[in-house]
């Protein structure tokens, strides 16, 4: 017998060994068990225990044999009056059951007419793919059972003369001639909550038009697949080419007739017709668009994007219906946010998708009741300062693509002029005054602003009055060169300043001035804005944009050096935002490459929120290159690297990341 000490040691060890032994035993047994179930190579088992793959393969090859045999036994059912009843051949039916989508098969239940409706709408498939021909069984004149292959159209025509009469009407409603009117008459209701979604879903499942509606996304899908296949075909004369070409044409026609929001709605409905949860998921997730529609979040978070999407004029107000329509498109086609409005308001491209924007805006704090255009300013410091000021003191602005740049320049110019920092805004229009034999120059702000006498239109009008003895009431109009047409009556007289939309920013904007159809070349534009955003020398500190803003709007720039400080600062107050400057190549390494040592393109940005996901901390950031309504998630490490790299190139080694604290 072992001594108590050794007994104790033994039981201690056993305590650990037992579970280990058990695990080994279980895995060994399961290994043995698996070995007995595993088929040896070349071993086949027929019947119930055959693998689905093998069953399908065997069925497909047999199906091909049968259809080739029956090719000679085609039948025109409408011609033979002796045929009273026709059914789908059981083997063909098995093929349909094996190859059709389960979600559509579930709709059949006990309704024979629903089956024919699905067949009519191309929602069922057989081993040969989409069904164009049907294998049928029928009794001939001698009461013998026969099998033949018939066209699907003939088969359905035969059926609809004897039963399921409504199907024929529905089929007519959803042909290419009538589909547009049919769709316009149907209400595609967006669910608001779980209960209403359940009701809507069940209503759709019982809707007699369902198969006709699901035909739409399937036609588009077939067409896309056919397009890929057709590009690989060599011969354009083959039967296959003609078949695929028809699919492509059907798709193109369908896409022209059906609005994108309906396409997206039907895509979600038909893909999830057997899954209520998945259908509702799209509409019930926590998205910013729903929160704006429910007035839980400010409208400006959505209205500008929605306006761009619907191409609605700025003078017209957006209705709740418009917002709901936009939400439907944002939810169903999230990639659309990458490109909408990109041509009118130049900014970093592509923008984030709608889902990312929605997630970011839920956590964002920046007030953005305006829409600027960074690519038309070409000075990231000015763009960023305008955004900070509009957050602190929002005002009504001209948000049209034509007027957005003027508003940004106006903010910056008045900030510096009021602070008596005229060096920051040296923009002048000059002309040679013959009588005085001198060049006279006047400061101006580009564009048209009816509230300001520094507005370019006002300054140019004053000069033209002196140069051309024009009447005192003269006003100059600011327009794109594509809009100016001296043939038009209202362009024949007056003053017009024209510019090329694609070639006009603060750096470079060649303009033409016309008075009574004659171009005036005597005016010269000079100067580009000059200011540091954060000071880089002690001398520049007083007139740096950050300092001027803090003095004018009465806030302090509180330095934030690390992530906990950033999170704490943002969480302290819903109005807190952080502005900073870093190297563009570190913030956006996918967009901008470093090619040499100390390469750094300064880029101001605003951080107004944060989010944690998968262990990463993201900061909701809008750099001065981004569209204001398209914030991005940037990993904190990239922001830190960007600000660090920027610090190195600063003479004073200043850490350029500050919280704006009132």
């Amino acid at each position: 017998m072992l001594l108590p000490f050794w007994q104790n040691r033994f039981y201690n060890i056993l305590h650990f060994i037992k579970p280990a032994l058990l695990i080994c035993l279980i895995s060994l047994l399961s290994e043995v068990h698996c070995q007995t179930l595993k088929l040896k190579p070349n071993e086949t088992v027929l019947g119930v225990f055959e693998s689905l793959d093998n069953l399908l393969l065997m069925h497909k090859s047999r199906f091909a044999k049968i259809t080739s045999l029956l090719k000679e036994k085609t039948k025109d059912l409408t011609q033979d009056q002796s045929i009273k009843e026709v059914i789908i051949d059981p083997y063909f039916m098995r093929s349909i059951l094996l190859y059709s989508d389960q979600r559509y098969l579930d709709l059949i239940e006990h309704d024979e007419c629903q089956f024919y409706s699905l067949l009519d709408s191309n929602l069922l498939k057989a081993a040969g793919g989409p069904i164009t021909k049907v294998i049928v069984a029928f009794m001939n004149a001698d009461s013998n059972e026969q099998v033949a292959i018939v066209s699907k159209q003939d088969f359905l025509k035969f059926i609809y003369t004897r039963k399921c009469f409504k199907n024929r009407e529905i089929s007519l409603l959803f042909n290419l001639k009538n589909i547009k009117e049919t769709i316009e008459a149907i209400d595609f209701v967006i669910p608001e909550d779980t209960l209403s979604c359940k009701k809507i879903f069940n209503r759709w499942r019982n809707n007699p038009y369902l198969t006709g509606l699901c035909k739409i996304p399937e036609t588009i899908r077939f067409g896309k697949t056919a397009l890929k296949k057709i590009l690989k075909l060599e011969s354009t004369r083959s039967k296959l080419y003609r078949y695929l070409d028809l699919q492509v044409r059907n798709k193109t026609e369908m896409e022209k007739l059906i609005p994108p929001s309906v396409k997206a709605y039907l895509g979600n409905l038909c893909n999830n017709i057997d899954n209520e949860k998945k259908f509702c998921e799209k509409y019930l997730i926590d998205d910013i668009w729903k929160k704006v529609i429910d007035s839980n979040y400010p409208k400006y978070l959505m209205k500008f994007k929605c306006r761009d999407l619907l191409k609605k004029n700025h003078s017209k107000k957006l209705t709740q219906k418009d917002l709901r329509r936009c939400r439907s498109i944002f939810m169903n086609k999230p990639n659309i946010c990458k490109t909408i409005g990109a041509k009118d308001r130049l900014a970093l491209f592509p923008r984030p998708d709608c889902n990312e924007i929605s997630e970011a805006l839920i956590n964002a704090q920046l007030v953005t009741d305006y829409h600027d255009c960074p690519g038309s300013i070409d000075n990231e410091g000015i763009t960023n300062s305008h955004r900070v000021i509009m957050h602190l003191k929002p005002r009504a602005t001209d948000n049209t693509p034509k007027g957005c740049a003027t508003e940004v320049n106006f903010t910056f110019a008045t900030l510096n002029i009021n602070f008596k920092n005229n060096k920051a805004w040296p923009l002048k229009i000059c002309y040679y005054h013959q009588a005085n034999d001198e060049t006279l120059c006047f400061p101006y702000i580009p564009g048209h602003n009816p509230k300001s006498k520094l507005s370019e239109t006002w300054v140019v009008a004053n000069i033209v009055k002196k140069l051309k003895a024009a009447p005192d009431s003269l006003k100059c109009h600011f327009m794109r060169d594509s809009e100016y047409n001296p043939q038009r009556l209202n362009h024949k007289h007056g003053c017009f300043i024209t510019f090329n939309k694609f070639d006009c920013t603060n750096i470079h904007c060649p303009k033409k001035i016309y008075y009574n159809q004659l171009q005036i070349k005597a005016l010269k534009y000079s100067g580009i804005p000059t200011s540091t955003y954060f000071h880089h020398t002690i001398k520049a500190q007083r007139n740096s944009t950050a300092n001027i803003m803090s003095k004018t709007y009465n806030f302090s720039n509180k330095i934030v050096r690390n992530l906990p400080a950033i999170l704490r600062f943002l969480d302290q107050d819903k109005k807190h935002v952080i502005h900073g400057m870093g190297c563009a190549e570190d913030i956006y390494p996918q967009y901008f490459k470093k090619t040499l040592i100390n390469d750094c393109t300064s880029l101001p940005f605003i951080i107004d929120g944060h989010m944690k996901k998968d262990g990463n901390t993201y900061l909701i950031t809008r750099t001065a290159l981004d569209d204001i309504h398209s914030p991005r998630f940037i990993d904190w490490h990239l922001i830190f690297a960007a600000v660090s790299a920027h610090t190195v190139i600063q003479p004073l080694k200043t850490w350029t990341l500050y919280g704006i604290k009132k």
Binding site: K338, F349, G381, Q590, I597, D635, L638
Partner: protein, 362 residues
């Protein structure tokens, strides 16, 4: 010490050590570049460390230091920032001068561009634009004007040669075209069409003909070009948080400038950062790969792709957030958090010995 105090000390130390890692002060096994002077002033240091171009922000000067003598290269207002670009041929250097670096933050502001003989200090202005590049064994330079969307190619040995290509791009104002010259007559560059899709275009100067070599199907994919040893490498990388994948393929450049291919050499399901470097070493490609973990934790490292070893991929860095690679006269560096980590080349910039005439390759 009481047990409670020990416990809190351990907690504090653990937190402190992990917070260092969180803020990115990683220790790496890669050597850190050591220089004689403050690294922030350096603009180009040759592989042998004998020629150093550096700037003085306080005076706005660009200077050349060699053999204990210092020569001025360019002079502008205080705060001027210089960018220097060289190639493996080591015959010419391009200099981009930004006099408004601190007082006009404009990504698209054109800068004055100069060319200079390698190791010399007499510049000559060749134009104004952005992101200059050297091509065809330093016979040509190219630069881009983002406002007019014109890509200019200018001869820097035969200075009379010049031609321009206008880009279609109207949707992305901050798009910088990638470009390579296959010969005096044929260039390959990237452009963006009206739908925002990037593509690779070939342009034949003699017949003024353009052709589309490749076109993307998604706006969220970018293209990179790199030419080396008769091969044109094309990298296609997804942008944004949605994984679209990445590929690198190459075309063989024949003697008559025709391109044969593509041959796929790399594929990934994730959106790599890219930033391909192909001229540092024969048969080796370097780029930044997305190595995000299965848990979703972000990670990106510099990897090499060995063309001679069945396109073997090897991770070279251990910084977790490596995002750029810089080629400074054959020395490959990773800039990361105020340091430069050496991937390729010697750490010999602190060497004080004299240069001999053989150092300058003709």
């Amino acid at each position: 010490m009481a047990l409670k105090s020990k416990f809190f000390l351990i907690i504090y130390l653990t937190t402190f050590i992990s917070s260092i890692k969180v803020h990115g002060y990683n220790t790496s096994r890669l050597p850190v570049l050591v220089t004689k002077q403050s690294i922030q002033h350096l603009r180009l240091v040759t592989i042998d460390g004998k020629f150093t171009y550096y700037q003085q922000q306080s005076t706005g000067k660009l200077l050349l230091s060699t053999n204990y003598s210092v020569d001025p290269v360019l002079q502008a207002s205080a705060g001027t920032n210089y960018r220097l670009i060289s190639s493996p041929t080591r015959r010419k250097i391009l200099i981009s001068m930004n006099e408004r670096f601190f007082d006009f933050i404009g990504f698209r502001l054109p800068k004055k561009i100069y060319e200079i003989d390698f190791g010399k200090s007499t510049p000559m202005q060749i134009g104004e634009g952005l992101f200059p590049m050297i091509h065809l064994e330093d016979h040509w330079a190219s630069f881009y004007n983002a406002q007019s969307r014109i890509l200019t190619f200018k001869g820097i040995i035969n200075r009379a040669s010049k031609f321009q290509v206008k880009l279609v791009n109207v949707v992305n104002p901050y798009f910088i075209p990638q470009r390579v010259m296959l010969s005096d007559n044929k260039v390959v560059y990237t452009d963006v069409n009206k739908e925002g899709l990037q593509g690779v275009i070939t342009f034949e100067r003699s017949v003024k003909k353009t052709d589309v070599l490749k076109k993307q199907t998604s706006v969220s994919t970018k293209i990179e070009l790199c030419l080396s040893n008769g091969k044109l490498f094309i990298g296609e990388f997804g942008l944004g948080n949605q994984d679209l994948g990445s590929t690198i393929s190459y075309y063989v450049v024949k003697k008559d400038d025709t391109l044969v291919g593509p041959q796929l050499i790399y594929k990934s399901k994730k959106n790599d950062i890219g930033n391909i470097k192909c001229q540092a070493e024969q048969d080796m490609l370097y780029f930044v790969q997305n190595q995000r973990l299965d848990s979703g934790l972000n990670r990106s490292e510099v990897v090499s792709l060995n063309l001679a070893k069945k396109y073997e991929i090897k991770t070279l860095s251990d910084l977790r957030f490596a995002s750029q690679i810089v080629n400074m006269d054959g020395r490959l560096l990773i800039p990361y958090l105020e340091k430069y980590y050496i991937l390729l080349g010697k750490n010999n910039l602190a060497d004080d010995s004299f240069v001999n005439k053989k150092s300058i390759k003709k």
